[in-house]
């Protein structure tokens, strides 16, 4: 049966309108939710109920909103760091590990302790923790960076392996030396090591009582601005863009690729480490076994969904923060992970629409 029309797929030659990538990404997200809803229905849940609950759980109150931002903060930092690495086609899947090591190093200030906690002013303690968090993350990012730069070892695998190593490293210390009376966590940090949060101002402003939004979000926003400035306006940003686009051309232009690989990994690691510090000082106030609900992997997805744009990263991390907050309440627990994987998969599938056009043509005599 010959159809009166045919479908032709051809490469685009003209530039795509600016809104297109945004629309395709959004469609991918919506489609992912639909698919997940179907899976939910298949196993006996009620997707509509669940999604409605999502909404109230995430946006229903100021408290919920604050929770979303709190969850979004580490995603933002990690998303920014991963986004920078991805620009150079360096797959930093090790944000999870860098997060844990950053948390660990920051916690050392309190656990050893590295400074006398009673007499040191708060901002100094927090500054030190922040620095150590970033340094720890940077060093942990350095390892895969050097291995990639010098030996061209796949950074995907090394960073993944380092994730498992970091978790075990942390566990050793919190089960052992720093443990709180044999429990799998350290004692709660002294108040001086708590990141300021809005509920601290509850005495003056009643409305802030119970709002756990902490300073970490400011770290994230500042980092986003800095990264944006670097990538768009700086010399280093130009180098990163060039290396990501064509490393051979970058070499031929005299750019030191090895140095840049290591540097970018260190920055990426530092941001993940800072996220770790922000989580232990702003949210859990101790070092424990599970301080990350897969922030490292979700951060990768956030970066990709935001198409490596720092400001889009802010938006997307907010969305994913909502997903995590809402996902806490629903069963089964793997669903949120599934949704995230599906979103990423659909986003990259939809990218094909940005490169190819689908045209439906009337079958003419010439082509029949």
């Amino acid at each position: 049966m010959k159809l009166p029309f045919r479908v032709e797929i051809e490469q685009r030659t003209r530039d795509i309108p600016k809104w297109m990538p945004f629309v395709t990404s959004l469609s991918a997200v919506i489609l992912a939710f639909i698919i997940s809803g179907i899976i939910l229905a298949v196993i006996g849940g009620n997707p509509f109920q669940v999604y409605a609950y999502f909404f109230t759980a995430a946006f229903g109150s100021w408290g919920a909103l604050s929770d979303v931002i709190v969850k979004a903060t580490p995603l933002l930092l990690i998303g920014l760091g991963c986004g920078l690495a991805f620009k150079m086609k360096l797959w930093n899947i090790g944000a999870e590990g860098q997060f844990y090591i950053g948390a660990f190093c920051a916690s050392l200030v309190v656990l050893v302790p590295l400074v006398p906690l009673e007499t040191t002013p708060k901002f100094l303690v927090l500054l030190l923790m922040g620095l150590l968090g970033m340094i720890g993350g940077a060093i942990y990012g350095l390892i895969p960076g050097i291995l990639k730069a010098k030996f061209n070892v796949s950074e995907i695998i090394t960073t993944l392996m380092l994730n498992y190593i970091a978790v075990n490293w942390n566990n050793y210390w919190i089960f052992g030396k720093f443990s709180d009376a044999g429990f799998q966590m350290t004692p709660t940090f002294d108040k001086v090591a708590w990141l300021p949060r809005l509920s601290d101002l509850a005495k003056q402003y009643r409305v802030f009582s119970g709002i756990t939004l902490h300073l970490g979000v400011v770290f994230g926003l500042v980092a986003a601005i800095i990264i944006w400035l670097i990538v768009r306006y700086s010399r280093w940003g130009y180098e990163i863009n060039l290396i990501g686009d064509n490393p051979r051309a970058a070499r031929y232009a005299g750019i030191n690729i090895t140095r840049n690989i290591v540097l970018v990994f260190m920055v990426s690691g530092a941001l993940a480490g800072l996220a770790g510090m922000s989580e232990v000082t702003g949210v859990v106030h101790r070092l424990q076994e599970r301080i990350s609900t897969n922030y490292g992997f979700s951060g990768v997805i956030v970066a990709w969904l935001a198409k490596l744009n720092p400001f889009a990263t802010i938006l997307v991390s907010f969305l994913f923060g909502a997903l995590i907050v809402a996902g806490r309440e629903i069963q089964p627990s793997g669903l949120s992970f599934f949704i995230q994987g599906t979103i990423l998969f659909l986003v990259i599938s939809s990218d094909v629409l940005l490169r190819y056009r689908i045209r439906i043509l009337r079958q003419t005599r010439e082509t029949a």
Partner: protein, 511 residues
């Protein structure tokens, strides 16, 4: 040339072929006829659509409309398998050989025999027999990466013969051969025709075509400008005009000027290639101000490595002096700071960043200097000024300075690279295959630009596989063979044959 009875059907008849790619009409209602037992040359400059047309015949592309008839029977070629089944074999310009496999394995690729278990020694013998039949010597058990380019081409031809191809298409076969190897190829073609085959010979080189073809057709910008004309009374100038559409002058304006001071001195430099084998063996040469030194040689004799050691992209032993400073084994920035400019042979793979716009590509050399950057920041207004200025000066055809490099044509991309490299008034230019793959208009522009730089007292090292171009542009021509300079000639009155012999190592002489 064998004569065929007049009522024998034509080997190939292509009628009204139309093929569109995104953004370009590659074949515009093309007619093409190949008679049985003839050698038919298909001429046209780069981008004219001749390879595309033959790719259609080989089953790689499907035309949007038009018909193909093989030996009187209309056919639908939906894939290379169909074409092979119909007796069509194509030797591509860029060899389609698997480097890590042996000759025999490459010949057997895609065939249904052997059924399951590979019994290579038996097939090695088959290949050996075929070689003897056509006089194409090559070791069946050798791996492709071990073979010379000429030998690899023989493997490609054997591939088609093994499949019993009666219609053989050769796409720019002489581009990679030395002059006397071209003779051998012509001999092979004649012997193939004597055994009943019909050949299409694609080329843009007028001399070769006139030497061996029975009839020829010319394509220009996708359309036929000469359809199967005989060679009687056809001159080079007529052909050139059919190819380009206007009168082509074969002379370049080159002033005679005495060379100045020494700019580049390469002293006994040795280097390894990517496989760890010696590519340069104590090579020495020098270039002076206002002089073009042409390096002739077949691809793979150390040219790429030579350009790379000079520009700091490859480690080496020995000394490389640019303006009396040794830049060997240092970063590319060092040779750049000594006034070197490098036009790489790979426009897209090395010379440009495809997703970056023209502005970004033009600042690749000076992005870390004033006025393009101040400290850590890049002054984009200044970068845009530079881009606009260079776009005008070098006549780069593109919608704007924000167009991505990947969207530019080959000629315009090469102009971008040249603009970037030359606009800084370099002391030394290393130009590798600067006009490869470009149409005549672009070739003229690029050659003009190089000669201008020569007038500006730049020293130019011109590495090219187009012997004609080298002889036209250079003040001196040196021949490189297996990593050494084996001879030097004066382009005025140079003997092509002796150069050819030097290119294949048969004769080493300094004139």
């Amino acid at each position: 040339m064998t004569t065929m009875p007049p009522d024998m059907p034509n080997a190939v008849e292509m009628r009204n072929i139309v093929l569109r790619f995104p953004g370009v009409l590659a074949n515009d209602h093309v007619d093409f006829t190949l008679k049985r037992g003839e050698i038919h040359a298909l001429l046209g400059e780069n981008g004219a659509g001749k390879s595309t047309l033959m790719n259609i015949l080989a089953g790689l592309y499907k035309p949007n409309s038009g018909s193909i008839t093989i030996n009187g029977e209309q056919v639908n070629l939906n894939s290379p398998r169909d074409a092979i089944a119909r007796g069509i074999g194509m030797v591509h310009q860029h060899f389609m050989l698997v480097p890590t496999h042996t000759v025999t394995e490459n010949i057997l690729l895609g065939l249904r025999q052997p059924r399951f278990f590979m019994n290579l020694p038996r097939y090695d013998r088959h290949v050996q027999a075929l070689q003897e039949q056509f006089g194409l010597k090559v070791d069946p058990t050798a791996k492709i990466w071990q073979l010379s380019v000429g030998e690899q081409q023989r493997v490609e031809i054997l591939k088609t013969l093994y499949r019993g191809a009666q219609i053989v298409i050769l796409d720019e076969p002489t581009a990679v051969l030395a002059p006397h190897e071209i003779e051998d190829l012509m001999h092979t073609m004649r012997s193939m025709v004597a055994q009943g085959k019909s050949i299409v010979f694609i080329s843009h080189k007028l001399n070769e075509v006139t030497a061996v073809a029975d009839r020829l057709s010319v394509l220009r910008k996708g359309r036929v400008t000469a359809d199967g004309i005989s060679l009687a009374g056809v001159t080079k100038e007529m052909l050139a005009e059919l190819m380009v559409g206007r009168k082509v002058i074969f002379q370049v304006e080159k002033k005679v000027q005495p060379p100045g001071e020494l700019v580049l001195k390469v002293e006994k430099v040795s280097a390894l290639n990517n496989k760890g084998l010696p590519a340069l063996k104590e090579i020495s040469l020098h270039v002076r101000q206002g002089e073009i030194l042409g390096i002739a040689g077949i691809a793979g004799n150390g040219q790429s490595e030579l350009a790379e050691v000079i520009t700091g992209l490859r480690p080496c032993q020995g000394r490389i002096l640019i303006q009396d400073e040794d830049v060997a084994n240092q970063s590319p920035k060092r040779s750049i700071s000594q006034g070197a400019a490098h036009i790489p042979e790979d426009r897209t793979g090395v010379g440009s960043a495809p997703h970056m716009d023209i502005t970004g590509n033009l600042m690749m050399k000076n992005f870390d200097q004033q006025p393009i950057s101040h400290g850590w920041r890049i002054d984009f207004a200044s970068a845009r000024n530079q881009a606009t200025r260079l776009k005008g000066t070098y006549d780069i055809q593109a919608p704007s300075i924000h167009t991505a490099a990947a969207k530019l044509s080959g000629g315009n991309l090469q102009k971008v690279i040249l603009a970037r490299e030359i606009s800084g008034g370099p002391r030394l230019i290393i130009a590798m295959q600067p006009t490869r793959g470009l149409d005549v208009g672009a070739i003229e522009s690029i050659q003009k630009l190089l000669l201008e730089q020569r007038s500006n007292q730049a020293a130019i090292l011109l590495i090219s596989e187009e012997l004609d171009e080298l002889l036209e542009l250079s003040d001196r021509v040196a021949v490189i063979y297996e990593g050494r300079i084996v001879g030097e000639v004066d382009p005025q009155g140079a003997d092509i044959n002796s150069i050819g012999l030097m290119m294949t190592g048969a004769q080493g002489a300094k004139t």
